[in-house]
C-alpha cells in the first residue's frame, strides 16, 4: 500500500479511519484521496483498505 508516496504494509483488515489515526494524522485536518477518488470524512470509518491501495492524505499549509 502507498501512503503519500511511501510504501506501507499495515496489518489488514484496517479501515481508513484506523490508518489515519495510527499514522498520526488529525482526522479533522486532512482530506483523503483513495486511488484517485476523494473519500468524504464521514466514510473513513467504513472504508476497508486493500493491499494495493494508493492513498493521498493532504492538509493545509501556509501559502500565497
Amino acid at each position: 500500500m502507498k501512503v503519500n508516496g511511501k510504501e506501507l504494509e499495515p496489518i489488514l483488515p484496517m479501515t481508513l479511519k484506523e490508518l489515519i489515526f495510527d499514522a498520526g494524522y488529525r482526522e479533522d485536518r486532512v482530506a483523503v484521496e483513495l486511488n484517485g477518488r476523494i473519500v468524504p470524512r464521514s466514510d473513513y470509518a467504513v472504508v476497508l483498505l486493500k493491499k494495493d491501495d494508493s492513498i493521498e492524505i493532504v492538509g493545509f499549509v501556509g501559502g500565497g
Binding site: 483523503v32 468524504p40 493545509f60 501559502g63
Partner: protein
Amino acid sequence: MSDELKIGSRKFNSRFILGSGKFSLDMMKAVMENGGVEIATLAVRRANAGGEENILDYIPKGLTLLPNTSGARNSDEAVRIAMLARELGCGDMIKIEIIKDSRYLLPDNCETIKATKILSGEGFIVMPYMMPDLSAARSMADAGASAIMPLGAPIGSNKGLLTKDFIKIMIDELELPVIVDAGIGRPSQACEAMEMGCAAVMANTAIATAGNIPMMAKAFKLAIEAGRMAFISKPGRVLLGRGEASSPLTGFLEDPK
C-alpha cells in the same frame, strides 16, 4: 460609508488579502490582526504525520480562507487540488494558480481558463491568478470567474507594479473585481494599485520578508485603505508643461507698476 469588496456572493470590508506562506505560525495572528485581514490564502500539500502543528489552529476565527492550487501544472491538477481543498472543509473559494515554469513562476493563462470553467461549474467562487492579458481575462470572466488576479511582478520578487498599464486596462474594461496578486513589495506600490482602481491587493512575501513583520502588515493595511479612499475621491487632474497657481493672483501687497 459602506464600501464593501464583493467577490461572488461574498462581501468583505478589508481589501487586503494576505498570503500565509513564509511566516512562523506563532506570528500569524499578529500579522492578520495588524493587517485587518479578512481573507487569507493557504496551500494544499501532503499532510505531515505525527500530529504536527496545523496552520488552521493559528489563523484567527472568522477569517475567510482562500485555498490556492499552487503546485498544479495544468487544469486537471488544479481541479484535483481544488476538490481536496473543499473537502478540507473551509468553504468554496479557490484561487487558481497554474504554473509550468519554475524559474519565473509565471501562470499559464490557457490552462487557467480551462480550470476556471470546470471549477465554476462545480460551484466554486473562482479567483484565477493570471498574466495580465485583457483577452484571457475576458475568457476567464466568461468561464465564470468571480474576480481576476493579475500579477504585478513575478511571485515573491517584491518588484512592484511592473505590469501597471496592463492592469489599468483590465480595470477599465472588466466588470469583475481586479485584484493585484504577486510582486507587490511595498505599501506605496499597494497604494498605487488601489489608487488606480484595483478592488484589492494580495501580498505575502512583502510582509514575510520585512524586518518588522507585524508593523509591515499594518503599513500595508493603511496604504491599501489610503489608495482606496483616493480612488473613490477621484484624484485631481495632471497639468503638462506648465504650472497653475494655488494662491490667488490678485491682491498682492505691492501696487502694480
